[in-house]
Symmetry: C2
Subunit: 336 residues, 2 copies
DNA sequence: TGCGAGCGCTGAAGCGCATTAGTGATCGTG
DNA sequence: CACGATCACTAATGCGCTTCAGCGCTCGCA
């Protein structure tokens, strides 16, 4: 900036005014300064900016998953890609961190806050009794919870959420319309909020319809558990005629397990994956799956965070209900 | 820090010395200052640190891929997870960015450099005629190229590389031992350096053995192209008896395509995936695949970057040659 | 006993930017 | 024509930290 000031023949402060669009300099000077700055390839030092109270121009994102289950889901990279798309418009950086569990994640937030490293954070995988909203509220760190239900206890946090309940209800609708009455939901981690929402909605829908052979079995999202649970429930008597998997990897594992047991898909059993991806289209039969716009989800979340940083009040916004893309793995229930 | 100084009854400079392990204060004072700092939960402001010449305590990572092919590979999240493991030891942050292409990636590096946002970067997917090493050399930004061959033209950059040539040779060894003589390599993006290494090694191995029905077909890594190329080459006459896919997604797509055409695996055609993942174990038959330690790759790269930041000279280090895990998709070639 | 060396510490400057108070010139108005 | 108001700009201060140049003190040694 000193260089720019010298070359443009003005003071440093004038340069600051000019480049930040603040009043206090003539349009002619502003243009001249801008030109010189461009010539010199000047970019403000984020460190200096941050130090003089402008914030770190950075947003934080922590993924708390055990390392070995990290790669299996395409969801997160898509989400991050959507987030970036929005952040890039303002030249905000994304500080990314993987942590082994939520306790460590909280430690990361504390550290980032103490170090003034981020202006806000995006929180994923909200769970029951989640310590994170309380912590972030306490620290006063602007945050958007991705995938949580609106949380009345922490009005400082925004929420971007998908209507899992509505989606589950529509899946049950479709399956019962096909004649299915015994449905098993191979769920994800029981601690996650959306897992709970799906489980309780399924139970409610079953009660409403008087279905008794309907239940949820929580897992750790891994292919191993997906296959194991599939084998167990299909070995029961009578076996379910439809299975709903909380992610694509388990659905694939379940498909293989069903085939091993001699179940034909979809003649003997229908399969639904609660996550669409290339995988679902790569196996035979192709898997019917709930499609959602993960990148769009990320964009929405990022926009909410920007709004929060601009001083807008926190709020909860919904994203479109995921829709079931029917493929080859769902069909009419076999008559008893 | 002012608070700490006051409470400990010393000057700010003494606090700085004490907390940074620098000489100039007695051990007693140092301990006292440390205690007070801990009580207050003090953490240095990265902005201030960066401003006074200590660097940004941040490392950059850009992923230049079109958004839609982002999620398909588990490799990157695993890699990042390994990187973080090492960076976390020093409390270094990871600034993550996805970019549509290499030109944009270069722009990101320039911006980061101008803004003093990062101390160094990790570069993935090196390609032929890559502008990035030159740029980073010119900017003087410490960098580690992940997956590149050692680059003599840019001695300022470190390289962490896997021996694709050796791996390809060993795969060809195994396949020819099974009697395969017509092998098609469904390769990845032709611009990537490791794709070229694999292609040229395959050609050399074929020549060495006098095999004429061996070739590589570059693709964009997508399931669509993987399936299309599989259909095309299996429709040829005589068709190949073994296919090598440069990633797991294409291998899966190829498996489905082969089944569609009535080819049995492995009786009619053997399949090898150059990327192991849960997917390879989820299909039937299970895919034989080259396993590598992606997280370990990331750890090695991160350690090289730390060394570079500590002033060590750049160097090239190799990671273990990926090994072929034989599963159900490879078998003896069908006698003609 | 006197002097230099070294120790433990303090004060001040500076990193690059934003901001506030202040300055001189120009303008409009009575 | 004189006055306050406005405009275009400058000088100075501070953000939180590191660092460098002292500064007084004690200690060892001649």
């Amino acid at each position: 900036m000193k260089d720019i000031a010298r070359r443009a023949g003005v003071s440093e402060s004038a340069v600051s005014f000019a480049l930040n669009g603040r009043p206090g300099v003539s349009e002619a000077t502003r243009a001249r300064v801008r030109r010189v700055a461009e010539q010199l390839g000047w970019r403000p030092s984020t460190a200096a900016r941050a130090l003089s109270g402008e914030g770190a121009a950075t947003v934080g994102f922590v993924l708390a998953r055990p390392a070995d289950t990290l790669g299996v889901e395409s969801f997160f990279l898509q989400l991050v890609s959507g987030i970036q798309e929005v952040l890039a418009e303002r030249h905000l950086g994304l500080l990314f961190q993987v942590a082994p569990d939520v306790a460590d994640e909280c430690a990361v937030y504390r550290r980032w806050w103490a170090e003034h490293r981020v202006d806000g954070v995006l929180v994923v995988d909200p769970r029951a009794d989640d310590p994170r909203p309380g912590l972030l509220d306490e620290l006063g760190l602007p945050a958007v919870v991705i995938g949580g239900a609106p949380d009345v206890r922490h009005p400082g946090l925004s929420t971007v959420w998908a209507d899992d309940a509505g989606a589950m209800a529509s899946v049950v609708d479709e399956l019962t319309a096909l004649g299915h009455r015994r449905i098993v939901h191979i769920a994800g981690l029981p601690g996650l909020a959306h897992t709970r929402r799906r489980i309780s909605t399924l139970r409610a829908e079953a009660e409403r319809r008087g279905l008794t052979g309907v239940r949820s079995v929580p897992t750790d999202y891994s292919d191993a558990e997906g296959a194991a649970v599939t084998r167990r429930v299909l070995g029961g008597s009578p076996p379910p005629t439809a299975l709903i998997y909380d992610n694509d990897v388990m659905a694939l594992a379940g498909l293989a397990a069903a085939a091993d047991l001699g179940f034909r898909v979809p003649q003997d059993v229908s399969l639904v994956s609660w996550e669409d991806s290339a995988l679902c289209r790569l196996v035979s039969p192709r898997l019917s799956a709930l499609s959602r716009d993960s990148a769009g989800f990320g964009r929405t979340a990022a926009r909410e965070l920007l709004a929060l940083l601009d001083g807008a009040p926190a709020r909860a916004v919904g994203v479109p209900v995921p829709r079931l893309t029917g493929r080859g793995s769902t069909g009419v229930a076999r008559p008893e």
